[in-house]
Symmetry: C3
Subunit: 353 residues, 3 copies
């Protein structure tokens, strides 16, 4: 509301810049927005560069300003540009009445924060892999090429399919050796609509942690059987060596904001591919929990912090009634903020007039 004077010149500038960016985010492509933000935040970004390139040894008198500047610089970089994004739609070809998808598993250099690269294990080069989106009743073929240095296999987590397509080496199939391909074929069963996943089921504690995960959405044949929404956001949660505490393969400030117009309904599909719970807290508006692991709840309920456990998917709908830039983060605070500022499992929901 008010500040008694001298505390916030840089902060005020930063916030004005952020809101300007936030406004721009609703209007155009991400590249343009990032360019706009970068122009405004050159000073903060330079500060960040300087202070992360060498060890700082602040005096006691400087420590408060130092800490706050680090916090500010992190937010000023948001949403920072990185080389690729996961969760892109996976194209398919028709073979008769079968939708044919192709996944290639390979080690890929992955930029999880600006200039922060790591060797991830990916499907089609991104973390998460591309989104496979089909409709109840669709006949599906997925051809998996393994270019990894290990064998692998793909489990269709949440799908009701023939046992021999389930993707568990030595129980339902042989492993897919390096340099080989394997073909899965099944039908998206009616009644099985919702938010599902695909991920490695071989040496999985390692391979999934390294990035071998993606969303598998089955749309209802009759859309009226599921709650309506205007904006969709898939939020894959993970931790590990490739991006630390991450949302969709990126750590804040490289995470992606969710943007909606006031009055829109935002569907968020949480998917936990990690090894820890992540209670996701949205500021400012409650979340209506509508589905567990794709299955509609008989009675949706409201909350503001939803505990997403490993392997679970939860669908929630946020009624975007409150205009502004709302913090959105894991409420295990050590997954979201350190003394150097926000990082990891943090993004924002921007609601525009």
């Amino acid at each position: 509301m008010s500040n008694n004077g001298d505390s916030g010149h840089a902060a005020d500038t930063s916030r004005r810049n952020f809101l300007k960016v936030a406004g721009a985010l609703g209007a155009g492509a991400l590249g343009t927005q990032v360019a706009a933000m970068r122009e405004h935040n050159a000073a903060a970004a330079a500060w960040y560069q300087e202070h992360t390139d060498h060890a700082a040894t602040p005096t006691a008198a400087d420590a408060v300003e130092e800490m706050d500047a680090m916090h500010e610089a992190g937010i000023a970089r948001f949403p920072t540009e990185t080389a690729a994004r996961g969760n892109q739609p996976l194209e398919f070809e028709m073979d008769g009445d079968v939708k044919v998808f192709r996944l290639t598993a390979a080690v890929t250099s992955w930029e999880w924060d600006t200039d922060q690269w790591v060797d991830a294990w990916t499907y089609n080069g991104t973390v998460p892999g591309p989104v496979i989106r089909v409709t109840e009743g669709d006949k599906i073929r997925v051809i998996v090429n393994n270019e990894l240095p290990e064998s692998t296999a793909v489990h269709w987590h949440g799908l009701i399919i023939p046992n021999d397509q389930d993707g568990v080496p030595f129980i339902t199939q042989p492993p897919i050796k390096p340099g080989h391909a394997y073909t899965y074929e099944f039908t998206a069963r009616e009644g099985n609509a919702g938010s599902h996943m695909y991920h490695s089921h071989h040496n999985s504690a390692f391979q999934v942690q390294m990035g071998m995960l993606g969303a598998f959405i089955i749309e209802p044949k009759d859309p009226s059987t599921r709650p309506a929404y205007d904006v969709e956001h898939i939020m894959v949660l993970n931790e590990g060596p490739i991006a630390g505490f991450s949302i969709n393969g990126k750590g804040f400030p490289a995470t992606e904001p969710i943007v909606a117009k006031k009055g829109q309904k935002v569907l968020i599909r949480y998917m936990n591919e990690g090894a820890m719970i992540h209670p996701m807290h949205l500021h400012g508006m409650p979340q209506l929990v509508i589905a567990a692991d794709g299955w509609l709840l008989p009675q949706p309920y409201l909350c503001d912090t939803i505990n997403v456990a490993p392997g679970q998917r939860w669908d929630v709908i946020v009624d975007a009634t409150e205009v502004g830039v709302w913090a959105f983060h894991c409420h295990i605070l050590s997954h979201a903020e350190s003394s150097h500022g926000m990082f990891g499992m943090v993004t924002v929901m921007i609601v525009e007039e």
Copy 2:
């Protein structure tokens, strides 16, 4: 039911004393009760003092008695007197039609168990901070003074308020620098009744862990819109450097018993301000879960162990049908008991005839 003879003289004495204390607890002030308990348990307390002041090296033959005596001594100290309690009502002044609350953030010496002091980071000197309690529709102003050595900011966790009052530095406001004040002003929105929280949102993984947390209760304008109850107990869960595994800023045996008469309904407002889940188990009576993050569930359900994740609030009502002293603790047993006896996230519910 029966014991075959020789095992329990001290134990029997202890239990009689405990029940006497338990009976007294329902009748009068905590100071009187503690005095009564102390008189009866002088021997056990002396034992505790002796055995925690220097290293004990029991012989094998003594080990069983040693362990049991430590367990007994811990319970004999319950509910041990400490210098201050959190969760006290926060007074306010009216400025026209606005309720004006004042919070001062400062480093405060905090007694989390008898003679166990630590430098906590507090609101108004206690952990949790005072309870802010308002009614739907109330206009509210909170003036926050920062006497900490770091900047801070206050997030109103669960409240639907204007974005610029949300308390996130560099996104919705500048940080509140040491030595400065900041004023928040908003209305307790109708429909937003329930159990909410306020806590630091700057360097929060540290500041919240250190004690910068409190309950924010919005009472319904029409009480008939929420389930009725006779006794209310707020239970803030946390872990960390200031009190270990704690309930309301204290570790057992410095935690506070919940006291009810047979037939009363006890509302418990769980609030997790820590970084770990705490599945809270009440012995003897089930818990009716009525609200998630303040929002009434469309259909309450019964359980005896409710998993409270970081950032969540759960409201439950216990129908106090069973007379006695009922253990009440986190069922991650390592948060509640060691080979030295119960500690940390343990209290009791006492139901009196």
Copy 3:
């Protein structure tokens, strides 16, 4: 669906064998099935023996085959024979109208995987202890003999009973000293039907971890008040020194498969006696969640991954519609698979035509 050729000779053999075992599992006793499996899997088992007895130093060229062989060998051993199983029915005698059960707590050598022995702390020699199964309204006496080197006490977790039978040393009873007995006596209250537990409540973080836990089932007086089922499976989850990440006191491949005929309804009673959450994921078919801590939910809901927190019980019913061998495991993948293959909290559900 298909594999392009050369990747899977051993794998194919393994899978045929596994399915043969799986088929046999529905028909006869476990001993026969294990014998059949062992005959077929001699080569893989020998490999396992060789590679776990001394350090392997594979060349880079061999590493893929090495890893896959370890994965295969683990599954080829499933369900491996071990010396004893927990969860066996506890016999009782009638004393007038009272059902009299006897539990002896003692240190017992426990085979948690083939040839892997550990000193467990047990009730009647197994982990979990025997199942106490009674009906609403039953009068019950349980005589507990303590042959442990420590005192102990038994808490009836989930039961609504007189306070002095609740099993908490120094609050409701003296501890049961080594060499002594203690008698509990209470009635299985009407309305308290469902999945409950008994476990140590003295030095419990240690004693429960070591194996002092068991299922306590109260059957409804009127079976029509609970959902019907054809097959029942109790699944006690734990971690710790005696069996690592375990289901019913065993780690995969010594865990027990769940076997059903197509069309049967399988009741699974999850009980978490550990210190960590375990989100249990069944492949192939959803789980209908019907009860929390024994209490029927007002509205069951479907999921495929149910988060079971310490101290909780969840009852689910799986409609065994899909034929095959379905992996069933904790989805914290590091509790279920390493680079050496599946281990710990893994079993399968076998659905036969």
